[in-house]
Symmetry: C2
Subunit: 503 residues, 2 copies
């Protein structure tokens, strides 16, 4: 994002510490009106520019197409990319004949830093998503013909600013296994002109894709899978990590409280309810929820700068569930709530409506692992080391800059500065007087939300077998999930939500 | 955030009922956060679209301009900023009459993160410098009339990407001490209409300036100084810090080698010679040069991720001297050179010409301290704590992101990745086969450089008293150092270079 602000120095200055500017800006409520005006002006500007570009009529990835593809050309390795050799000579590009190639249903595991993306999943109003970069790479390397026909499933969604260490997707990719193999579909007209190579090494998917992907999106490895495998529906469990510094938090209290999340509970008060997208069931099973220091052996000069990680493993998660769980833990760590609040929020009989509260910020969250059974991951050893090098380089910069800041923090401490005890990981602004969660205004109840969407035809009521009432997803969201637009509408809340198995 | 990116029909709805949004925004502060995020996202979108439209070369965007300044207005405290009240009413702004106000010669100590600036000193070819932001703040707060008349000196220069924790400048600022005081000059026509306040508290320089400066430039404190005080010429010594992770480096070898820099040596082979700007003498005195772990008590799980700091204190430094010193130490730490190379490079009789080598990268370098005698720094306590809070906030983000990266580095290690032993802190590209420094091609000698600039009239030869030859700075750089351009030409090499006292 920062990149886009380059042209104006003030904006740059502002953007350099966005959250800080937010704090300043929110010191005055009157700002909100200015902000709304600003939003309207900008929206108008966006419309104007889009009109000039006639962009709405353009296919999604033509926007950055020019720059991206030119970049891609540079890093491309013809030896590994059957298709892209032709790609280099613009103009005389012959259409690539996918019908003469085998397809292989595979699982791909990828890591990405989500900080400068608008989220993982393709969205209608921005091109800046991990999935957009991913499909540009698939198309560029001629591994797929188009998204619609690619039999694509993702394991979990991650939101704007959220990273992943092992996100998993399943997709059909071009293969060179003309003699067949696990998950391979041979072309109808095989042999017709196609040279059949015995025991050929499969296309180097990892190397090929990493050559054309941005540095902050890396394919780690791949696995051949059965035709019916879905990264989304066959995922057994998911592990998220949320990193945070101790600061003034009582970590042992948080650690004890975290345990209360374990087991099967109704999390409607600890997520963002997304009824409009057919999420009507909020029971989720948490297999483990722990808080640990990130390096157990390390004893830093001041405990307040030690880092900890909240690690939560569950079968499936609701929209914003982990960041809401973390928000509650941060309130407990600040002694603003007692661990007991967790049980009270999960007791939906006595607390059927979610109290209004801000969730924890996005950038410390990582979808760290997705668990599948019986997959044999194949890495291309040299690629793993190459990716490791890239991460080491990025870590070096980040670690050194962190130390530069720490040196200044220490210096100001010695100069008599009083360290703030504020928790920087909560969204929204600091309240002068804390209002206990259970005394706050509540959000709409699940029932009234359902009512709302039934009225709008987004949900449909039906008579259940034994007279009970069933609520189904409305027609409008029954379209194929392969259409990028509808996939947003349908999966916006899923995070691999088990409900989605219904359709 | 996803809320804002919901399919456009939602956005339309929002535009259609802005007043509703106003109400929401005012009732929920978290909403304001969303609004600001929305603004940022829209600004990004606008930039993206403009980039597509090739609007880059438009006059720096009106839109961003307005918001940012309005944001600044908002955080401005009228009670502390005489000037900016008027600033709010554009158009009808009356000229501020500086002649009716006392001036005070003061020293200001400031900290800044140099990573997104082109350097400290104003440059002709970019507006993105710390000094440019600083003078904007002085002018906006009506503390000075213009740079030319402000009697401005800086203690040290820092280059592109280099930060400072206590950079010091001296300057004449508007004062409210109508009864005089240390360093105060009263207006000629004092009393003429001016209300004389007995023992008034001095203008809150720190608070006033920090309100209008970008968040990554903070004034720490100020000191009243005698009229003849110069931040540049009265600085006794300077301390630089260079942070680095252990990686595959032999740190104890580096630490032993660093000691060899201590004392008075000729550093012409360990800096960027800047003869064209009149730097003809390369002897510099290093008071101390040490390498220490940044947190002595910390024992991280793997030593290779421990951080160290090279701290060097000297009377004055040459252009790029510290980064060249660090580059040599990094070569020694990699066992590519022996500690003895330092003595050889400082032995200019036997090695009169600098071998070609890349210096260490910029971002880990911090001008950590500038030492003066007899200054009594005055901080505005609440401001120090406010700045500390800002830094803690930024540290939190940086530390957490570093940990996200570290988690991935560890994960890939377990996945069988082979960690790279490359040193990421050297500029330029990695050489396959290392070529020892003393076997490399050399740069021009000092003598031939002098010859070159004498020919160009940038330097002048004169007969010294006892027949010896003296070389003086040429006319072209004898211009007032108050002219931003010339100050670059003249001081580009100085880092508070004592030579510059010549003129």
């Amino acid at each position: 994002m920062q990149f886009w602000f380059a042209p104006t120095r003030h904006v740059k200055a502002k953007i350099r510490f966005p959250e800080v500017s937010v704090v300043n800006a929110l010191t005055s409520l009157a700002m909100s009106e200015d902000l709304l005006q600003r939003v309207r002006d900008l929206e108008a500007e966006v419309q104007r520019l889009k009109a000039q570009l006639g962009e709405k009529d353009m296919p999604a990835n033509e926007m950055e197409g020019t720059t991206t593809s030119s970049l891609i050309e540079k890093v491309n390795h013809p030896d590994t990319t059957g298709g892209t050799k032709k790609g280099k000579k613009k103009g005389q590009e012959r259409p690539f004949d996918f019908s003469t190639h085998p397809r292989r249903h595979v699982a791909l595991r990828l890591a990405y830093l989500g900080w400068s993306y608008q989220g993982f999943a393709v969205q209608e109003n921005t091109d800046n998503t991990v999935e957009a970069r991913l499909f540009e790479a698939f198309l560029k390397t001629k591994l797929i013909q188009d998204r619609q026909s690619s039999n694509y499933h993702r394991c979990g969604r991650t939101d704007k600013g959220v990273s992943a260490f092992s996100q998993v997707i399943s997709i059909d990719l071009r293969s060179n296994q003309f003699c067949g193999g696990f998950g391979v579909t041979l072309p109808a007209n095989v042999g017709a002109g196609a040279k059949i190579k015995e025991d050929a090494v499969e296309v180097l998917y990892v190397k090929m894709l990493n050559r054309v992907l941005p540095q902050d999106i890396r394919i780690l490895d791949w696995a051949p899978v059965a035709a019916e495998f879905s990264a989304r529906f066959d995922c057994r469990s998911r592990t998220y990590r949320y990193y945070f510094p101790c600061g003034a938090l009582n970590v042992s209290l948080m650690s004890e409280a975290a345990k209360r999340y374990e087991g099967t509970h109704d999390f409607r008060n600890i997520c963002k309810m997304d009824v409009g997208n057919g999420v009507l069931q909020f029971q989720r099973t948490i297999l483990s929820a722990t808080i640990q220091p990130v390096c157990p052996h390390s004893v830093s000069s001041t405990g307040s700068h030690d880092l900890y990680v909240f690690e939560v493993k569950g079968l499936a998660f609701l929209y914003h569930q982990v960041r809401c769980m973390m928000a509650i833990l941060l309130l407990i760590g600040q002694k603003l709530e007692t661990p007991d609040i967790i049980d009270q929020l999960m007791d939906v009989d006595n607390n059927p409506r979610k109290p209004q509260y801000s969730m924890a910020v996005d950038f410390p969250l990582v979808l760290y692992d997705c668990h599948f059974e019986g997959l044999s991951w194949l890495h291309e050893a040299e690629e793993v080391s190459h990716t490791l090098g890239t991460l080491q380089h990025h870590w070096t910069q980040s670690a050194v800059k962190t130390q530069v800041l720490y040196g200044m923090v220490q210096g100001l401490g010695h100069a008599g500065g009083v360290p703030s005890t504020h928790c920087w990981l909560m969204e929204g602004t600091r309240q002068k007087n804390y209002k206990p969660l259970l005394e706050r205004p509540c959000c709409e109840s699940l029932e009234s939300r359902i009512e709302h969407f039934v009225k709008r035809g987004r949900l449909e009521r039906e008579e259940g077998e034994n007279g009970g009432e069933l609520v189904h997803r409305g027609k409008r969201s029954k379209l194929s999930h392969n259409s990028p637009h509808m996939s947003v509408v349908k999966e916006v809340s899923s995070n691999g939500d088990t409900n989605d198995k219904q359709d």
